[in-house]
């Protein structure tokens, strides 16, 4: 039987993480804390990811939360939180708009990407976000996608940055060139794409905006033809909440904070 967990969200997390809608779509797994018969400390707290989120998450854990979901976290020091969470036996899961997409959670897509990386001649990745987005935050989300794809990006350098976006250069294993571009515009959907051109084909992953349950598009081209992987109509928000429930139900730890620290490490290389 599914254990129902109580949830509370601060207003900003509610807005950025669409918490009410997601909780409503997982009615056996979650209920809002105010609606539960014994509305004590919520099992899971949703925290907005603007500056100071690590401390807010730690505070929620100190207040008794078993799980914390952080929506759209910005880069910041996680030293305190990475000590607090395991000591309390709590789980911290990050709700990132593209990296959290269900297509990247399983091994199917990541395995296909790994196969393409072995044959890569060029990696070209583009992230698009609407005006008003901080390019640094866009880059944070972008790098999270690259790492979630299992791509080992090395020797990263910031080529250019402006209010309209950025370009980052790096290399894959073996010196294969990689380029990441961020573009700020309202004319295009907010997507992150990763294109790995290989010696005889390509692999493309296009991750959608989680504002709706658009599916990711994953397509592989080899000498034998093209394959499109099955569509999964689930927003990254819902996938994230399913994950936190799974971790809490099974008692398995989440590696979100460790992965996010790898992102911040790449960011610090760019700024050094």
């Amino acid at each position: 039987m599914t254990t129902q967990l109580s949830v509370s969200a601060d207003p900003q997390a509610e807005a950025s993480g669409a918490v009410s809608a997601v909780v409503a779509s997982l009615p056996l797994s979650f209920a809002t804390a105010a609606g539960t018969p014994d509305a004590g400390t919520p099992d899971v707290v949703a925290v907005a990811g603007h500056a100071g989120w690590a401390e807010r998450a730690a505070e929620a854990i100190r207040s008794g939360a078993k799980g914390v979901v952080v929506s759209a976290p910005v880069a910041e020091d996680l030293a305190g939180l990475t000590a607090t969470a395991p000591a309390a036996g709590s789980v911290v899961v990050l709700d990132q708009q593209w990296a959290g997409n269900v297509a990247l959670v399983g091994t199917n897509v990541r395995g296909a990407i790994a196969g393409a990386i072995n044959e890569a001649v060029l990696l070209d990745s583009v992230a698009v976000a609407p005006p008003g987005t901080d390019p640094l935050h866009l880059l944070t989300e972008h790098l999270a996608v690259i790492l979630q794809c299992g791509i080992d990006l090395q020797d990263v350098r910031l080529i250019q940055r402006s209010g309209n976006g950025y370009t980052v250069a790096g290399v894959l294993a073996g010196g294969v060139p990689a380029a990441l571009q961020g573009i700020i515009t309202s004319a295009l959907p907010s997507t992150a794409s990763v294109s790995i051109l290989t010696s005889a084909g390509r692999a493309d992953v296009v991750l959608p905006d989680p504002a709706a349950a658009w599916p990711a598009e994953v397509r592989m081209v080899t000498a034998e033809g093209a394959t499109t992987l099955p569509t999964l109509y689930e927003s990254s928000h819902r996938t994230t909440w399913s994950r936190v429930h799974s971790h809490l139900s099974s008692g398995t730890p989440a590696n979100d904070l460790a992965r996010f620290m790898a992102v911040t490490s790449l960011l610090s290389q760019l700024n050094s």
Partner: protein, 381 residues
């Protein structure tokens, strides 16, 4: 008499009309794969207005074979072709280094129009010299920037309104197989020259690959890039490196416009040739068909405020568009591109090529040998 006079006038008018309807004669300098797989099939669809009458190539066997396909004269010298009175329009499809001299000679030979494959010169001085001769002789010149003649591009140009003033980001992304795959879909090639293996760890080879990548491949889209680059003279190369076996990653900035150029020629069967110009609230995306395959025009999408306008595809590509334009110009109708446009396009490309070659990152050179690279030759006409 009146009747006679009237009769005579009718005859004269009929002759003029007949002359204006007769196909114009085309002579082609250089009969390599581009001529065989691109221009001859394009001209075969335009027999009512253009007729191939003379093929020149330094390889006599190639010249004879290619001319034989279309019932044209053949020769191994430019002078012989230019002296052929049946040739009204000259197409220059020779290696880059001969372009400038052949354009000038064609103008001085009194031809009606000249098509020069890109680049039409290898320096700003050469370009200015060509421009002066064109102005002096009155012979119109078209540079074979085929995407600027593509009906998909032209339809987008009609529809994009003030987009050029709004664009802050431009992307040109090209993925193609080696040329022979597509050449063989279009024709049966004679005289194909195998590409030499090159050591792509050699810095000089890398520089040549970058320069060749810009002048042979990126150059197809650089006139389009320049259309959206208000301060094109300030273009600066921020980053340049090669992809193997052939390709490039080049980052540019011109004023407040970011320009990213990507290309990879791998062994794929699936080509992709995309040009994008993006502003805060409007964006253009054009999917071009690959060269050689005669698969119709590009398809353009203009997006703004949640609305997408799709233009094309149309039945012919930019190569056929070039030839239609040449026929117009040779008949004295239509307006050629301004000399200033051609010179600025060339200067823009040369500035990027030279700067990219001088900027490449030696730290990124690693083990590996590129085979089949075409650094200093035309890569994909």
């Amino acid at each position: 008499m009146q009747c006679s006079s009237d009769y005579k006038e009718v005859i004269i008018l009929s002759s003029e009309q007949q002359a204006s309807r007769a196909p114009l004669g085309v002579g082609i300098l250089g009969a390599g794969p581009v001529t065989q797989a691109i221009h001859l099939p394009s001209l075969a669809r335009l027999r009512d207005i253009l007729e191939v009458r003379h093929i020149m190539d330094v390889d006599l066997a190639v010249a004879e074979s290619v001319a034989g396909r279309v019932g044209a004269h053949f020769s191994t010298s430019m002078e012989e072709l230019l002296a052929d009175p049946d040739v009204d329009i000259v197409a220059i499809c020779s290696p880059h280094q001969f372009h400038a001299a052949q354009v000038i000679a064609s103008c001085r030979a009194g031809k009606k129009a000249v098509l020069c494959e890109k680049p039409f010169a290898m320096s700003g001085e050469e370009a200015a010299g060509i421009s002066a001769v064109s102005a002096e002789t009155g012979v119109p010149i078209i540079v074979g920037a085929m995407h600027t003649f593509d009906p998909g591009w032209l339809a987008a140009e009609e529809a994009w309104e003030d987009l050029p003033e709004k664009v802050h980001t431009i992307r040109s992304s090209i993925v193609l197989p080696p040329n022979p795959r597509f050449e063989d879909f279009a024709t049966e090639i004679v005289g194909r020259v195998p590409m030499p293996d090159r050591d792509s760890t050699d810095p000089e080879v890398i520089k040549a690959m970058l320069k060749g990548g810009v002048m042979g491949l990126a150059i197809h889209d650089l006139p389009l890039v320049r259309r959206f680059t208000r301060d094109f003279a300030s273009v600066e190369v921020l980053h340049a490196e090669i992809a193997r076996p052939f390709g490039y990653v080049i980052s540019l900035r011109a004023g407040d416009v970011t320009i990213e150029l990507r290309a990879a020629m791998n062994a794929t069967w699936e080509p992709s040739w995309v040009f994008e110009a993006i502003g805060n609230d409007a964006a253009l995306k054009i999917d071009f068909t690959p060269s050689y395959v005669h698969a119709g025009s590009a398809t353009a999408q203009i997006r703004k405020a949640g609305q997408t306008t799709v233009l094309g595809p149309f039945g012919h590509n930019g190569y056929e568009g070039e030839w239609r334009k040449l026929a117009e110009l040779a008949r004295g109708t239509g307006r050629p591109p301004s000399a200033e446009t051609l010179i600025h396009d060339l200067e823009f490309a040369l500035a990027i090529a030279e700067s990219a070659a001088s900027r490449f990152d030696t730290a990124r050179v690693d083990a590996g040998t590129a085979s089949g690279t075409t650094a200093d030759e035309e890569i994909n006409a």
